[in-house]
Symmetry: C2
C-alpha cells in the first residue's frame, strides 16, 4: 500500500564531505528522480509491452526494480557482473559503466495508458478497472505535430545522472533485461537540465539562451509538492495504488533555432517577458522578483499580453504549478539543415486535467513563443510511488 512506510528518503544524497560518490536511494516513499536535485544528463525511454502475460509483466517489474536498485548504487545491473561471468553466457551487465562512479543516477518508472487497455481496447493485464481517471489521452493542442515514433508508450523509464554514459548504461541494461517482454518504442537523450528542483541549484538556460524554470516547484516547498505534484490518498479511490505517486508529462518541443537567432534582443525579451542576461521580469528587479503584469510600458503593459512568463504564470492559471525536470536536446540536423534541437519537457504534476491541459491549451493559443516551437513528441504516464524494502515498482497496482 502506498505511503505505508517511511523508511528511506528519495532525496537522500551522499555526496559526502568524505568524497564518497554521489548516490540517491532508489527505494523510498516517492521514486527518486522527481524532487531529487536535477542531474545534468538524461536518457529517457518509452517501451511497448509485447507480452500478453500479466505474470511476465510483473516478473519484468521485479527484475527492473532489482537492477535499478543495484545500478543506482553504482553496481553492475546483475549479480554476476560483466567481467567474471561464465564464458559461455552473455554477461548480465553490458560493461560500459565499469570504472565510472554512480554519477547520482536516478531511475524513475512510469505506466502509460496502454498498460490498462491496449490499442484494440483489450484489457490484456486485467488492470482496466485500476486505470487512474487522470491518465487520459492528451488532446491535440495547436502546435502539435506529433511523430508517433516519438510519442506514447506503455511504460517509461527516466534515467538521470551527471554522466551520460551512466544514464545510457542504465536504459540499455533495462532494455536488455526486458528483451522478449518489452521493446523500446522511442528514446531521447538530453543534456543541460533546464530546470532546477532545489533552491540550492542555480537556474540553467534553455536553447533560446534564457534562464528556464525560475518559478519551478522546488524540493524544499513541502506544501506545494503536496498540492501540485504528489497524488493524494483521496484523489482517485479507484486508483489508490497511485497515492504518493505523480503524473509525468513528456513533450519533445523542437525550437526553430535559426529563426530565433535572427530575432532582435528586444523581441526575444518581449516574447519571454524576462531579460536575457539576468532573467529578471521586464517589470524589473532580479531573477526571483515576482513579475508585475500591470506595469505599463509605452505600448500596453511592459510584460506583453502574449509574453511566455505571463501566459504560463500561476496567477493566470488558477494557481497551478508544475515540477519541471526538462532537458535541452540536440539530435543532429533536420532535413533543412537546421539543428534538430529544443527542449525535452518533463513535468511532474498531481493531475494533468487541472495542472497541464488547461495551461498547455492557453499557451498554444496565446503564447508568442509558440511561433518558434513545434511539438514533435508527447506522452503521459502515471508514476507510481516509491518501492519499499522488498517491494517492486508498482507492486500495489498488481496487488
Amino acid at each position: 500500500m502506498a505511503g505505508a512506510f517511511l523508511a528511506g528518503r528519495a532525496s537522500e544524497a551522499d555526496s559526502g564531505a568524505s568524497g564518497a560518490p554521489l548516490t540517491y536511494a532508489f527505494r523510498g516513499e516517492h521514486q527518486a528522480g522527481i524532487v531529487t536535485p536535477a542531474q545534468d544528463r538524461l536518457h529517457f525511454a518509452a517501451f511497448d509491452v509485447t507480452t500478453q502475460s500479466r505474470a511476465q509483466l510483473v516478473a519484468l517489474l521485479k527484475a527492473w526494480t532489482a537492477a535499478a536498485d543495484r545500478m543506482t548504487r553504482g553496481l553492475s545491473a546483475g549479480e554476476i557482473g560483466p567481467v567474471d561471468g561464465a564464458d559461455n553466457l552473455p554477461p548480465d551487465d553490458t560493461g560500459e559503466a565499469i570504472g565510472l562512479t554512480p554519477g547520482g543516477l536516478t531511475i524513475t518508472f512510469g505506466f502509460g495508458p496502454g498498460l490498462f487497455r491496449d490499442a484494440d481496447g483489450k484489457d490484456r493485464f486485467g488492470l482496466a478497472d485500476r486505470r487512474p481517471q487522470a491518465l487520459v489521452d492528451l488532446p491535440h493542442f495547436p502546435g502539435d505535430n506529433l511523430d508517433p515514433a516519438r510519442s506514447y508508450g506503455d511504460l517509461c523509464v527516466q534515467a538521470c545522472a551527471e554522466d551520460p554514459q551512466v544514464a545510457v548504461h542504465a536504459i540499455r541494461n533495462l532494455a536488455r533485461i526486458g528483451f522478449g517482454t518489452v521493446a523500446v518504442r522511442w528514446s531521447q537523450l538530453g543534456f543541460g537540465r533546464t530546470s532546477t528542483t532545489s533552491t540550492e541549484q542555480s537556474t540553467p538556460r534553455n536553447l533560446f539562451g534564457f534562464k528556464d524554470g525560475t518559478a519551478n516547484v522546488k524540493a524544499q516547498e513541502a506544501r506545494a509538492l503536496d498540492e501540485h505534484v504528489w497524488v493524494g490518498g483521496d484523489d482517485d479511490p479507484g486508483a489508490s495504488w497511485l497515492a504518493g505517486g505523480s503524473y509525468l508529462v513528456a513533450r519533445r518541443i523542437n525550437m526553430t533555432i535559426e529563426v530565433w537567432d535572427r530575432q532582435s534582443l528586444g523581441d526575444q525579451e518581449s516574447f519571454v517577458g524576462r531579460t536575457k542576461g539576468t532573467g529578471a521580469p521586464l517589470s524589473g528587479g532580479e531573477e526571483f522578483t515576482e513579475p508585475d503584469f500591470s506595469m505599463p510600458g509605452h505600448d500596453g503593459p511592459v510584460i506583453p499580453k502574449d509574453a511566455h512568463v505571463r501566459v504560463v504564470h500561476p496567477d493566470q492559471n488558477d494557481g497551478v504549478r508544475m515540477l519541471r525536470r526538462g532537458y535541452n536536446f540536440v539530435d543532429g540536423t533536420d532535413a533543412l539543415g537546421g539543428l534538430d534541437a529544443g527542449l525535452f519537457f518533463l513535468a511532474y504534476l498531481r493531475d494533468p486535467r487541472t495542472h497541464f491541459i488547461p495551461v498547455q491549451t492557453r499557451m498554444a493559443k496565446a503564447d508568442s513563443l509558440m511561433e518558434y516551437l513545434k511539438v514533435t513528441g508527447s506522452a503521459l504516464f502515471a508514476v507510481p510511488p516509491g518501492a519499499g524494502p522488498g517491494e517492486h515498482v508498482g507492486q500495489a497496482l498488481f496487488a
Copy 2:
C-alpha cells in the same frame, strides 16, 4: 606559412592550481582539439558552402577564427555580447552558455574535397591546384551503408568540451555566423570519449563495454606524432599550406547493441581479442601489455586470426598508427526498436592513403567485429595547421 611561428602551444591547458577554469589556446602551431587531452563531450558539424564567392568564404573563415578564439577563452561569440546589445538587433551570441565555464572548449576546422572542386567539377574558389593529393574520395568499404545526409561536407568543425552545452553553443554560433555562406549538412553529438590522447588519461569504454583506444598515439609521443599524425613539410609540395596540419577521418559506426548484448562473454572477448574487465590482451598481462599473436590456444592462436586487436594492430598494417579521438553516441531509437547507437570514429592521421584506407579495408574483410557494425556516415577532411596571431584558419591556403 605553416610552421613559421612557434608562439603558443595548442596543448597549453590552464586548469590552474589557482582554480582557474580549464582552457586551451585556440592559436598555435597546430590546431587545438587534436593532441590536447580529449574532452568528454563532442558536437561535430559538417557544412556545405553555399556561396560561390571566394571573398565571402575567406570572410567567413576570418569571422569563424575570431569567434572561436573568443569562445575558447570563455567569452561570448561576438564583441557586443548577448545581453547588452542593441534592442533592435539580434544578439551576436545566442546566450545559452552565459554563466558556464569555458569547459576546456576546443574548436577544430577542416576542409573537405568540395572546397577544391564542387560536385559538378567546378573550381568555384580557384583552389583546385592546391588540393592535397591525399584528400581523396574514400572508396566504398564492405560494411559501408552510408547515408548521404550523414556523410561528406565542404567544411567541418569539431567542438569538444567537458560540458555539452558549451560544445553545442560553439557549433550553433558558428552556424549562425555562417548563415548565407554555409549551411549545416549534418551534425553529430557524442559523449564518453572512446580514446585518450594523453598518457595521463585512463582508457574509456565504448558501447561494446570494452576499453577502446589503448594503443592510441598519445600527445607525449612526439616522434610518433610527426610520423603518423602531422603532415610533413615535404609530404605534398603542391599543398604546402597543409604542412603542420593533418587529415581527419570521420565515420559514424552503428553498433548492433541488442545483438551484441546476447553474445557470450567468451565470444565477445574473442571478437575483440582482449578481456572485458581489464582490457588485457587474451595472451595475458595487463591493459598495456603487447599482445602475443603467436601464443597458441586450444584451437588456433589464443588471440584469434579475426580478433579486432590483431586485425588493426600496427604489426599487421605496415606499422601505421592513428590518433583516434572518437566518441560514443546514442541518437534515440531506430525503426526496429534498437538503440541508434555506436561509435562516432574520429581519427587524425598523416595520410589516409597509407594510414586509413588499407587498415579499414583489412578490417572490413577480416575483423570479426564487423558483424556487429554498420557504417552509416563517412567523411574526410584536410585539417590545416593552427592559426598564428593575427592569422585566420586556413590563411596559407588562400595566400
